[in-house]
Structure formats: C-alpha cells, structure tokens
C-alpha cells in the first residue's frame, strides 16, 4: 500500500478523467489502471445541472478517491475560488492546484502558485501543487504549507517524457521525505517506469491513456510500468559502467587449445 499523506492507496498511479472516447471507456480504463485516485474539474454548467449530473454519477460509481483540479486558472483569485467551489461539490479538501502562467507551454505561474498555495493551506486544504522541477520554488511551496509536490517532467499533454533527469534526481535528493508525484508530460509506460526508478512516489497522467488507440490496454500498461519502476527503485539499480563486465564466471572456463 502507498501511504499518501495518511491515506492508504492501492496504486501509485493517479489518473485523469478527460479526453476519453466515451464514459464507458473511461470507467474501464480507471478499472484497468488499478488507480485509487482520479482527477476531475469544474466547468460552467449550461444544461441546468444535467450535464454535470451524468459525470458526477459516473465518478461516484468508480469507487475511487477524487482529486479536483483548478485547471485553466490563470490567477491566484481564480484558482482559490475554484478550489473552494470544488471542496464544496466534491466533499474533499484535496486540491490539485494549477495556476497557469503561459497559454502556449501551459507552464505554471510559480509565483502565483506559491501565493495561492499559502492561502489554501491556511484554509485547511491539502494542496497538490502542479509545479516545475525548480528546487527553490519547491522549497517555497513547502514553506507555504504544501506536504506534497507535483513537478512536471515535460509540458502538459506533450508526451515528451522526462527530459531533465538531473533535475528530477536532484529533487528526489533534496526532498527525501516529501511525497513527489510526477504530473504532466508522460507519454509512454517507459517514461513512467523511468521516473519511478528515480524514486518518485507516484505519477499522475491523463492524455497518454485517454488518447491511446486502446485506452484500457494503455491504462493496464502504465499500471505495470509504475509497479515495475517502483520495485526496481526499491531493489537497488545497477549503476552504468564504462567497461564491459562479463556476467558469466570466467573461473573454471574450459581450455580447448
């Protein structure tokens, strides 16, 4: 079991609920992934409550914990208000805090993020900040009251995978006791395995599963990769070497000439 801030979770894979071909496939993918936590959002209700009701019923039937997000918020005020509205609707103080700073890269506005995190932590929220891999920002978020950090490994939806391994490794080294979840940028199961091998506690992904040709199969593949990466991290990985080293013992080798 994975102990996340006092909550026991069966899986280290957190899954987004957006962009699936159908609600049925979303439900099947959630089941196949084995996830214990799904992310959700709040949007303007334009059908008298009926469009939200369908998704609300679906999410409740999944039997998993809900992590609402503040996706699309570009200011501290927007993010804080959205978080408070999400707390009321979803009945949880968990919030994936996004304060977007750039339309093109969707990179977080880390200054606004720290400010919003402080306000929400003081208000009793358990803030999961979507941040960069910057160590100083991470320290500020912890000072603001965050108990967990969610650095990107590449831009949202890019599927590029971890391209700054050194920064991720450094983050793990600097914050050995803080739960670290890679959020955003994962494209393949091998990407997930890579960051789990680095010692990250969990991954959060959405597009790579939802936009796969077979989202259910991809959910299962990511689940296995996350488990494999975690077990590899705990088992002690062999460090790369510059020379060849025979794996078969050389002592006792027959001599035929």
């Amino acid at each position: 079991m994975f102990d996340l801030l006092g909550t026991k979770l069966a899986s280290r894979l957190l899954l987004g609920t957006a962009q699936y071909p159908s609600p049925t496939i979303l439900a099947e993918a959630v089941k196949a992934s084995g996830t214990s936590v799904v992310t959700v959002s709040l949007r303007r209700e334009m059908a008298g409550g009926r469009s939200g009701q369908q998704f609300w019923s679906l999410v409740n039937s999944l039997g998993v914990r809900i992590l609402p997000n503040t996706a699309g918020c570009h200011s501290v005020k927007e993010a804080v208000t959205t978080a408070k509205m999400a707390r009321e609707v979803f009945g949880t103080s968990w919030i994936k805090l996004e304060v977007i700073g750039n339309h093109d890269t969707l990179q977080p506005d880390v200054f606004g993020l720290v400010e919003a995190a402080r306000i929400l932590c003081e208000d009793g929220f358990m803030v999961f900040p979507y941040t960069t891999d910057d160590l100083v920002v991470a320290e500020r978020l912890l000072e603001a009251g965050c108990k967990v950090l969610m650095p990107w490994c590449a831009p949202i939806g890019s599927a590029l995978g971890p391209f700054n391994i050194m920064a991720l490794r450094s983050m793990r080294g600097h914050f050995p006791d803080v739960p670290l979840i890679v959020d955003a940028g994962l494209g393949r199961p091998s990407h997930a395995a890579t960051v789990m091998e680095l010692g990250f506690d969990a991954v959060l992904l959405n597009t790579a599963v939802a936009k796969a040709a077979d989202p259910v199969g991809m959910a299962r593949a990511f689940s296995k990769a996350v488990d494999a990466g975690r077990e590899a991290y705990g088992s002690g990985l062999l460090e790369p070497r510059d020379v060849a080293v025979p794996s078969t013992p050389t002592i006792g080798r027959a001599v035929f000439s």
């Binding site: 209700e45 409550g49 509205m85």
Partner: protein, 65 residues
Amino acid sequence: MKLIVNGEALEARAATLDALLKELDYEGNWLATALNGDVVPAANRAEFRLADGDRIEILSPMQGG
C-alpha cells in the same frame, strides 16, 4: 433585473441566488456557485440577495486531468 450568468446576459425576476437557480431550472447537489467572484456555499444561497449587474457562475463536475 439584468444579470450575467456563466458569461451570458439575461433578465431574471429572482431576488436571491437560490431563487435564481430555480428560475433557470438548475437542480442538483453537485452544483457550485459564485457571486461576483466569491464562492457562495449551497447553504447560503437563500440569503444572498441579487442586485442589478451581478455576475454569477454556476459550475458542475466535469472531466479533468
């Protein structure tokens, strides 16, 4: 009075936020509301009196990443 609901201008008779939801045929305990940028919890909607030009947001659960 004239209100802006979810970004759209409309004319409403309701005096409170609670009454406005009923007038616009909104229902469900999964709705979240804000008035002029501040959250209004469901329990307080009946107390919030509306004024001409108020901006109201009515949100509901949606897919998210």
